[in-house]
């Protein structure tokens, strides 16, 4: 009881640090999930075209102009060449086309009439050229089979109207989980920072040589005291996890993560929080200086967050960096979050890779505890 009371009193003395990291999570976590929203729908953008028609508006020429009106934004009032140049420079107009005289006849005869064009420098000009070339290519293909101008126009229309229907064979809209994924992946930093800093600061107080000597000469068994401290560390870490998951519900919305995906995110974060606790336990066995704790925490939390894709998605990281990241539990935690996002349905095949990552993180926990105990035993041999 006395030890627990002292533990929580020391934790309360560090409340400023806890609040700081919580604010960091809320601020950056919220910014992170709102800044990188995924585009889920696309709207076709029509290029602006100016047409100078030197032919009669009949037959194929009429059909061509109607096609351009449908697939591009036709702009008028650019008879003044200087004005037209300005419009091209400022991307108000992407393409200027000049339909030559006898265009409709030449097309029908299978000739290749030259269409003069001027374009702006942007990608939209290329799009406009594609629109124009598409018509001309189809028109020339049908002209080769000697059709009347009327039939030719009709055939061209038919060919150009043909479109491909694409069905997306996906049962789950994965983009729905991009925000929770970013939130929980960013928590890699906050969980590590909050858990390591506070646990190490508290443990460094108990591990100070003078205090340790006093505890060692007391009637409390060393093993019992270590268990009390470990239990309180776990309670603190659990409280941190509960807080971040609840914060997730608030920030992301209850509906977004109140489902199997949300449960998996929370479970993954719980395993990772346990791992963060063991990392803190290990560090507290090595470092007793409270001044050094902040430095080590920054190296561990920031380093693993950058290397494992908590801040920058893993697909943008070089392979060499990702290879290094494999030796860190954060990599498997963040990878599991990505796998949860991509999970299409609930089956052993889809859930197993996620569970496997959690098992790997848990193995890291065991490894850290073993190393911490070896160090602890070596340090106990004061004499």
């Amino acid at each position: 009881m006395t030890v627990s009371k002292a533990f929580w009193k020391i934790a309360l003395k560090n409340i400023g640090t806890i609040i700081t990291y919580t604010v960091i999570l809320i601020m950056f976590g919220t910014m992170n999930i709102s800044s990188g929203s995924t585009t889920t729908s696309y709207e076709a953008k029509k290029p602006s075209i100016v047409i100078f028609n030197h032919d009669e508006k009949v037959g194929v020429t009429k059909n061509f102009i109607e096609y351009l009106e449908k697939n591009a934004k036709i702009k008028d009032g650019y008879e003044d060449d200087d004005r037209l140049k300005d419009a091209l420079f400022y991307d108000d107009v992407m393409l200027v086309i000049e339909i030559p005289e006898n265009f409709h006849q030449d097309i029908a005869l299978g000739k290749n009439p030259e269409i003069k064009t001027r374009s702006s420098a942007g990608y939209a000009a290329e799009l406009a050229k594609v629109v124009v070339n598409r018509y001309l290519t189809v028109a020339q293909a049908y002209a080769a089979i000697n059709l009347s101008e009327e039939d030719l126009a009709s055939k061209i229309d038919g060919a150009l109207e043909t479109s491909t229907k694409v069905d997306v064979n996906s049962e789950v809209d994965t983009s729905k989980y991009s925000k929770p994924t970013r939130y929980f992946s960013f928590a890699n930093y906050t969980i590590l920072a909050c858990v390591i800093t506070i646990i190490c600061l508290i443990m460094s107080s108990f591990n100070r040589l003078e205090i340790r000597k006093r505890n060692l000469v007391s009637r409390i068994e060393l093993k019992k005291m270590n268990l009390i401290l470990l239990r309180n560390c776990c309670i603190y870490a659990l409280a941190a996890w509960v807080f971040y998951v609840l914060l997730g519900f608030i920030v992301l919305g209850f509906d977004t993560i109140w489902n199997l995906h949300g449960l998996l995110y929370a479970a993954n974060a719980l395993v990772f929080t346990a791992c963060a606790t063991t990392i803190a336990y290990l560090i507290s066995r090595i470092v007793f200086n409270s001044g050094a704790i902040n430095g080590i925490m920054n190296v561990v939390a920031l380093g693993s967050s950058f290397l494992c894709g908590a801040f920058v998605p893993a697909e943008y990281l070089p392979e060499s960096v990702l290879a290094i990241a494999h030796i860190m539990p954060s990599y498997y935690y963040i990878d599991a979050n990505n796998k949860i996002m991509e999970m299409q349905n609930t089956s052993f095949e889809t859930v197993w890779p996620i569970l496997l990552n959690m098992i790997i993180v848990f193995c890291f926990c065991v490894l850290f505890v073993i190393v911490a105990n070896i160090i602890s035993k070596k340090k106990q041999k004061i004499a």
């Binding site: 009881m1 006395t2 030890v3 009193k9 000597k213 000469v217 009637r219 409390i220 041999k381």
Partner: protein
């Protein structure tokens, strides 16, 4: 007279750090209710001996019994009766004065009401009643030392180890600490007090063990130890000018073994005899030697140490 029980029995204790013997075949006992002083210069093995007794250090050879039980790291029943005040201040910076004493007392006393009373008693003993809501960083060095003591003795142990508790402490706090220790002894505690301040040992301790290079070089009561000194009395006289003839005259006085004159201060050492001071005053009058101050002092433990080892305690 009733024979006092041994609270601590140390037999042939030996502890080495590589080739350096920190404690060399040490044997002694501490009787119930006494204050035993472990006196010695820095590095003489006092703290190492204490850490071995408390099972904080493994030792190479020997046996240690406390309250008749062999001491070991898991002798928790024995540990329950022990209080320790380490040389370094061992308190939590994050807890208040009251919180610190309550924590360390709580390691021994589970009952809340008893503990609260004990904490108040400890605060009173060291004179920190007005500072109980302060944090250690807000205390002066002397008050911090008092807090250190309160944390070690709050649970009212039967055996108390105090390792140089007055190092770097102001005179007021030192007096307060020494008075507190006497009070603990009066309340029935047995105390082992390590220090290199001979004055403290002379004021406090019933028995003294003088250590040097991990060995006991002398032990006994203050008087027994002082009896080991060859000198009987030292007379110090402030005298402005002395001719070589006058100086050699002092050496011829009866029982004088040594004369030293430096910067207007004359030190005359008698190796035996009574009424040495009055004889000296008489001599000064007869020879018309003017003087400002004159006083006599008995040999100190430092003199004993000097005679036994050829060096000062604080060297």
């Amino acid at each position: 007279m009733k024979e006092m029980k041994n609270v601590i029995e140390v037999k042939h204790l030996t502890k080495s750090y590589k080739s350096n013997k920190a404690v060399d075949d040490l044997s002694f006992e501490v009787k119930e209710g006494e204050i035993l002083g472990l006196l010695g210069p820095n590095g003489s093995g006092k703290t190492t001996t204490m850490n071995c007794i408390l099972a904080l250090l493994k030792f190479d050879d020997g046996k240690i019994k406390i309250f008749g039980e062999e001491m070991s790291p898991d002798a928790y029943e024995t540990k329950a009766k022990i209080g320790v005040v380490f040389q370094e201040v061992a308190v939590f910076d994050e807890l208040t004065v009251y919180g610190n004493i309550d924590y360390f007392c709580g390691l021994y006393i589970e009952d809340k009401a008893t503990r609260a009373q004990y904490v108040e008693d400890a605060l009173k003993l060291v004179g920190l009643e007005d500072n109980k809501s302060q944090y250690p960083k807000q205390l002066s060095g002397g008050l911090l030392r008092r807090l250190n003591i309160a944390c070690g003795i709050a649970h009212k142990p039967k055996l108390i180890f105090l390792d140089e508790p007055t190092v770097a402490v102001d005179p007021q706090s030192r007096n307060n600490i020494l008075e507190g220790i006497k009070k603990l002894r009066d309340d029935g505690a047995t105390i082992v007090y390590t220090t290199h301040y001979m004055e403290e040992v002379e004021i406090l301790c019933d028995r003294v063990i003088i250590l040097d290079h991990g060995k006991i070089i002398a032990s006994g009561t203050n008087d027994e130890l002082k009896a080991l000194a060859k000198i009987e009395e030292k007379v110090t006289i402030e005298v402005a000018d002395l001719t070589p003839n006058q100086l050699s005259g002092f050496e011829k006085i009866k029982n004088v073994s040594e004369v030293e004159y430096d910067s207007g201060v004359l030190k005359v050492v008698y190796n035996k005899g009574k009424n040495n001071l009055s004889d000296m005053i008489e001599y000064l009058k007869t020879n018309k030697i003017a003087y400002n101050k004159i006083f006599a002092e008995r040999p100190t433990l430092n003199d004993v140490f000097l005679e036994l080892t050829g060096k000062e305690l604080r060297d």
